[in-house]
Assembly symmetry: C3
Homo-oligomer: 157 residues x 3
């Protein structure tokens, strides 16, 4: 029955976010659920990709004290006050811009997180566990940031 056969389809969106403090976890879940619903895809993947090198995509619980614990762990792994060669104007020659920021720690924190999260779309909905929320992690705010969201999979013809 051709009319009922699954057919591949996709929907691409960009999300723009303005961050305020140096470290911030912005919950994207409601927006992602809306994009998945609009995509009309029954089974597939949604790939949430940040377009920056001092941000990351994180999946965890939305509990404000926990988010401050995350900041503590990142500060321990890559302290803001450490000497990063990326920030050393006496030796740096590559990719210099007029608005260069002291942000070696932020790049190093991004290294330990991830630039994207690939999540399953099941029965037309973004599949997440009870406590799972999807965040963009700002590691060098304040900034204006952009994410690319691609939902791709099987819809109904």
């Amino acid at each position: 029955m051709e009319a009922l056969a699954p057919v591949s389809t996709y929907r691409h969106s960009k999300i723009r976010i303005t961050t305020v403090p140096p470290t911030q976890f912005i919950d994207l879940t409601d927006r992602l659920e809306g994009l998945v619903a609009e995509a009309g895809i029954r089974f597939g993947f949604v790939n949430v990709q940040t377009l920056h090198t001092t941000t990351a995509v994180v999946v965890n619980e939305l509990e404000p004290l926990l988010l401050s614990d995350f900041e503590t762990v990142l500060e321990k792994a890559a302290p803001r006050g450490d000497a990063y060669r990326h920030d050393d104007a006496t030796v740096r020659t590559v990719n210099l811009t007029s608005d260069e920021r002291i942000n070696g720690h932020a790049h190093c924190r991004a290294l330990l997180l991830a630039p994207s999260a690939s999540l399953n779309v099941i029965d037309g909905r973004l599949l997440l566990g009870r406590w799972q929320r999807v965040f963009m992690a700002e590691l060098d705010g304040p900034r204006t940031r952009e994410l690319s969201i691609l939902v791709l999979g099987e819809g109904e013809r």
Copy 2:
């Protein structure tokens, strides 16, 4: 030749796991290989997604001493004995449940790992290197856990 044209297809499965110690790496590889074989997909992706915020998906070698080294590294990055605000009953007000656990360290370890792994399916098989195995990392056991496995790609019509 329409009859030989590739056609998109998918197979979704859930895996349920009961963990025992606080930290445990459960090898899912054989089960994933079985699911990929059953899916009848020649080229595509398998996305292995945990549905919890104190677990992760890890790809590395199945060598028991190495897995204990992993636990040591995670203990160093987010020690169990540290004071996490998430565990501070004097200030916490959000997402409290009757069976609340002291598990700030486990969330922080999950932050440094990943909630999912996207892997390639090539010529009908899950592609892994010689030593690569896919694990669910339990970071706050014992618990009963659930993973979602979506295989999606090109089959044969």
Copy 3:
């Protein structure tokens, strides 16, 4: 209009890399952009997967001093000189090979990074932000390494 309907397609490639120092970040971006262009896919995903347990896939900025900062952060998280049980010949019994390397630190660094990166293909191109580059991280060089690159999505019939 059947002739204009999107159709799923894919392209799989392997990349082989010879690394030199113990830690090295090899920029794959130009090669990935070429593979995406050749794939003829308008919207889809490219999944870049390493096939080794002491390498990782990283997305960040190509700035040589920053890459040395990354090495410093990884050395702090999993120091080369620490005692790893994986390297203890007096207790190890599993997966031993004739060319066994002292590389527990390299496995532990890979644990904190990722075995693959799933990135979006938009309007026929690999979507990356201004400073984003895709690297294979060598954590136990020198070695010969292999990556699998699968581009899958919607082309034009």
